[in-house]
């Protein structure tokens, strides 16, 4: 039995959940196991029908206390469901929520967890999952196994292709009844503050700035460049490496790298970024990487297709003027 937790974000099933369903199908074909999925939330009618086609059995827990994401309640419910179904494999998307829920679930089920896997393979003999993961900030790739079941992992988005065709038969849908008392929650969310939400995911071009920009005004330069590039490309976004976020120059939602977003635009322009491996793991899948840095020996050039050596304060305005002349 392979169980996929259908994660939600902004009241929508996350894309990674659909990717996990396609891996679940592979495991099911290899091991003959049943595909189970769990949906938890409030007023879930919308997607139940569609998801059911990709499972043998779909369990839906619809509860008013699951309307907002409260990790205490979420973990409680998921643990109860896992205990009841006793799956061999538990697959969770490595999202904001998944990354918080999975470790606590691991503690309750008393099983080792591997987070942010970039590849999975069930061993033909033992059934144990070989977990492929970027470690040491991404400078090493390790594949490893843990004994014991259930096998619990979180998987990085885009590791697998999303499931497309449904199964021959629609899976059975079970509406679960679970008593959840508010006292399960030891924490209280008293306020939600919405700040700038940047979606870097589907940008065609990303211009990212690093420590070398020297301050928040550097990002204004990147914004100006963005405006010009938008006349050439579908969608252009401004991103950042970790230091500018730590220094408060830009919002955390722009961060690309190990602790930020993993992006793969057609063109990635790195400005004033040294190219540490922590940043590289977030942008290495970009089709074309162009770097601007005043240090000719900067590490970033060794992972770039094109490089420009010099001060961005002079290069970017000239770059912009050059683009405007080409319009």
């Amino acid at each position: 039995m392979v169980l996929v937790e259908m994660g939600e974000e902004a009241d929508k099933i996350t894309p990674v959940s659909l990717e996990l369903l396609s891996y679940a199908r592979k495991v099911s074909l290899e091991t003959g196991g049943v595909i189970l999925a769990v949906m938890m939330g409030c007023n879930l009618n919308r997607e139940v029908e569609e998801i059911a086609w990709h499972t043998h059995k779909l369990y839906v827990l619809d509860h008013p206390l699951l309307r907002e994401f409260n990790p205490d309640i979420h973990v409680y419910a998921l643990e109860k469901i896992c205990a009841r179904l006793n799956p061999t494999y538990i697959l969770i998307g490595h999202t904001y929520r998944g990354a918080e829920v999975a470790p606590r679930l691991a503690a309750r089920l008393k099983v080792p967890l591997t987070t942010d896997c970039v590849g999975l393979e069930a061993d033909a003999e033992t059934g144990l999952l070989k977990r492929k993961k970027q470690v040491f900030c991404g400078s090493v790739v390790a594949t490893y196994v843990f004994e014991g079941f259930p096998q619990l992992v979180t998987v990085r988005p885009k590791t697998f292709e999303a499931v497309k065709e449904g199964l021959e038969k629609r899976g059975e849908v079970f509406w679960l009844n679970l008593e959840i008392d508010e006292s399960v929650s030891k924490t209280k969310i008293v306020e939600k503050i919405r700040e700038e939400r940047v979606v870097l995911d589907d940008a065609e071009v990303i211009i990212a700035g690093g420590r070398g920009l020297g301050g928040p005004e550097g990002f204004k330069e990147l914004e100006k460049l963005k405006t010009v590039l938008e006349r050439f490309f579908r969608r252009v976004e401004v991103g950042s490496s970790r230091p500018p976020v730590e220094k408060g120059w830009v919002s955390p939602s722009r961060q690309i790298g190990l602790t930020g977003e993993k992006v793969s635009p057609q063109i990635y322009v790195a400005v004033g970024i040294s190219g540490a491996v922590q940043h590289a793991v977030g942008m290495e899948n970009s089709k074309i990487i162009i770097s601007i840095n005043k240090d000719p020996n900067a590490q970033i050039f060794s992972i770039s297709n094109y490089g420009v050596v010099g001060d961005y304060k002079e290069i970017l305005p000239a770059f912009r003027r050059g683009l405007e002349e080409l319009l």
């Binding site: 939400r197 602790t259 057609q266």
Partner: protein, 275 residues
Amino acid sequence: MTKELKMIVCIKQVPDPEAPASTIEVDSKQMQIRVRGVPPVMNPPDEAALEAALQLKEKYGGRITVLSVGENLSVPTLRKALAAGADELTLVQDPGLSDVDSLSTAFVLYKAIKRIGEYDLVLTGRQAGDWNEGQVGLILSELLKVPAINLVKKLAIEGSEITAYKVTPFGYEVVKTVIPAVLIVTHEFGELRYVPFIALQKAREKPVKIWDAKDLSIDPSNLTKRRIVILYEPSRERSCFFVEGETLEEKGKNLALLIKEIQKSESYLSLQKVG
């Protein structure tokens, strides 16, 4: 009025993430990663947790115990935490702790915290620079059976009530709970304060306790360990074509021409069809 806080900050010792890649040696036969020639450091995300504890101590008074577990810990590396303002260092060091996973690391921390005794707050960083799991603080809260707040970027305490700002994909949430609790501090909290050399010297006078697995009644053979089956260093190298020009102005203009050329190229157009 907030009483003086008893705080435990969990800090992992890791290979320096800023060190050049050449210091990492991957042995694909023995399935081992060795780090040569650079001293280990305090895990940078855990430094944010230490900074949070130091700020609370300044505001409300209190005592900070730094707790670290591992197979081969370096007192000089971890003493930096004492120099920054922590009061005491407790190490759990045992050869049986090599290669243990997050679940078991959290278990060892749990046993050590039980032995330390009373506490108001346990603070950890969001993930470690070696195995990048991001699990220990959350598992620890489950073992201790106390509330956890993840990804804390700002913090205040009034009486026994904790108010934390938790980073979310949309901004942040204000989350309240009561002590004792585990707080997982994120890098948005800010970097650890500067530690002057003289403070490192003075920190030698502060107490350091060293325990092993037996002191905590832990049988290392019961701990969960990862078994590595494949290990390699990925190559990210691309051959870089440098955009030239007599002046920076010319380089910038040439970059504009290059972008236009890339966009018109057949390979780019074919990417567009797939993407």
